[in-house]
Structure formats: structure tokens, C-alpha cells
């Protein structure tokens, strides 16, 4: 796992051996079975994880309905930033959509790294910037695109979601009813075959 984590880290920053080892030393393995929860609404999320294997889904309950906020796959990172940064209870629920192997690190350990090795300030900045871009992209999709455009964009930009996530969760992620997604899929399939 060490090399996988270091490679994922090096997508953001160049670390030397000492810095790499320091990062590895703060990680704790966490295994989740499919459908197991990593966070429940009300928990404080004082950690972030590197996803070594598997897929996580973030959802919240709105008017009694399960609404999907985001999906996170292997080689990616996840934290409830709001709770992680503020220490407030999370409004998120995070469940494993597949059996997962995660490597978790606490906010406290990361902050110690910021002080000891300034390269992790850059890592933290780039992670936060990436989170901003992800949130803005999601908001853009939901505010500007039609249902069909949203689905087509997902096919092009995030094929893993299409391949590994149930249609029910894809529909709620795209802000539509499962029936609407089915109609769009059958319309697109007819277009392809005609």
C-alpha cells in the first residue's frame, strides 16, 4: 500500500523520503464491508481517508428521502471537510458501496505535519482547492444543465460511476427520479441503435 499512497501524494506534491515516511506513519488502516457506514449524520469527522480499495457514497436525508451527494473511488481521498475543519457534527452519511480498504489520518496528525514539513501546507492547499473545484462543478451541473446533459456528462467524465453504482443512486446524485433516468437511458439507447 505504501507505494500506492506515496504515488497518490505525489500527484499533489513532491515529497522526499523523510516526508513520505512521516505521512505513512500517521495512517491507520480501516476496513469496511459493503453497506457499512464510515460516518453517520451527527458524528464529528475528525479524520480524512485515502481510499485504497472500494467506493464510498455520501448521502443526506432530505424530506425523508435519501439524496446522494457524491461518490469516491480507490486512489481518491475523502473527508467531510466541513466537519473536519470546523469540528461541528457532520450532516453527511458515508456508506461503503463495495468492500473498502481505507487509510485514515486525523486532523491533529495532519496539522502536526503542516508544522513539521511545509510541503504538506501545499498538499493541504491543493486538496482544498480540488474540493472547491469538485463542489463548484457539482453545483454547476445541478444548476445549469438539463437532466439528459447531466447524465451524458457523467458518462463522459466519470465512467466509473456508470459502471459501479446502482441507477437509483446515480439518479439521486443527478437530482432526478429513477424513472426520469430510465426514460433518458432508453431514449439514448434508441438514438444509438437508430
Amino acid at each position: 500500500m505504501k507505494n500506492t499512497v506515496l504515488n497518490a501524494l505525489k500527484n499533489y506534491v513532491q515529497v522526499n523520503e523523510e516526508e513520505g515516511e512521516a505521512f505513512i506513519s500517521i495512517l491507520k488502516e480501516k476496513k469496511l464491508k459493503r453497506k457499512e457506514q464510515l460516518i453517520r449524520q451527527g458524528d464529528v469527522c475528525d479524520f480524512a481517508v485515502f481510499i485504497f480499495k472500494g467506493c464510498l457514497r455520501y448521502y443526506y436525508i432530505q424530506n425523508g428521502e435519501d439524496c446522494t451527494g457524491q461518490f469516491f473511488f480507490e486512489n481518491g481521498w475523502y473527508s467531510d471537510y466541513e466537519s473536519f475543519l470546523s469540528g461541528n457534527p457532520s450532516i453527511q452519511n458515508i456508506e461503503a458501496l463495495e468492500d473498502c480498504v481505507l487509510y485514515a489520518f486525523t486532523r491533529k496528525d495532519l496539522e502536526n505535519l503542516y508544522i513539521e514539513f511545509p510541503v504538506f501546507e501545499r498538499f493541504g492547499r491543493l486538496m482544498a482547492e480540488r474540493a472547491v473545484l469538485g463542489l463548484m462543478k457539482k453545483n454547476e451541473i445541478l444548476s445549469i444543465y438539463t437532466h439528459e446533459e447531466r447524465y451524458l456528462q457523467l458518462i463522459t467524465e466519470r465512467p466509473k460511476v456508470i459502471e459501479r453504482v446502482s441507477l437509483k443512486h446515480i439518479a439521486s446524485y443527478l437530482g432526478m427520479k429513477p424513472e426520469s433516468l430510465s426514460r433518458i437511458r432508453s431514449r439514448l439507447s434508441k438514438k444509438q441503435n437508430s
Copy 2:
């Protein structure tokens, strides 16, 4: 203005005199008249601004309708993060709701500061983290709260918006029609008076 900017900077990081001067040296004054645009959809936003005076509104056009994304006030910072970080054309429109005095700095100048003075990496990280929190808060409000709860929260947490922004823009920021906001306001006012 120098002291105001340095104080705003010091809300995030402790800078020494040299670092403070280096930051001041990359700023360029920009004045906007009320209703003037800082960014139009399609522009690349390769700069960020410190708002010395005035108020900005970010909006986008959805199905021909003007939808307010956010308001930014004096002593705050603004950039279209997505365009700033990616170099892609902005989907945002930014207009001055009042006469504004801004101090702008380019992405290139900020990146030079990151290299020259590592304290600005921390500044960049904290700014990005704040942007994440702002976006998550906005999403939380729109996805979980009722119209009335949204308005009550705005009164409590952002009185400046209530005092200085027109009801039309407040309604679109809260994701409701102006008529709904009027009904909520008159209902609340009756409650207060009874």
C-alpha cells in the same frame, strides 16, 4: 488601505514586514461603479480581489433567469475559484451592487509568493478551506432547510445581506420566488407583532 489589507491577511496568517510588503506590492486598485461588471460569463478570471469597499454579487443565468449564487462584502475576498485555478472561462457573472474599491492580484503573482514566502501556501490553504466551507454551507442550506428556515438563518448569520441587498436578489439567493419571500416576511412580521 495598506493596514486594512494587512489586517485582513493577518486573519489567516502571521506575516512579517517583508512578507506583508511583498503582498501589498502585487495589488492593483480597481474601482467599479454600482451595476458595473467585474466578470462576465466567458471571461477567464485569472485574478482574485480584496474588497476594500462595497459589495459584489455573483449570479448565473439558468433557463433565462438571473440566479444569485453569492454576495461578497468589504473586508472579504473574492475570486471565481474554478476559473482562477483551472484557467477555464468563467460561468459566473459578477456585478457591483454598490460602488466598489477592490485590490486585485493575479494568480501568477500569488504563485510567485507561494514559492518565495511559504507562509502564503498556508494563506492559500486557509482561503481554499474557507471557500469549501462556504460552498458546503450554501449547499446544506439549499438542500436541507425550508424556505422560512433559510431566511431566518440569513437574518441571524448574515445581517449585512438583509440590510444592503434588494429582496429580489435575496429571494434568488435563497432559491425561492420573490413572492414566497414576501409571504415569509409578512408572516414573520405578524408573529413578531402578535
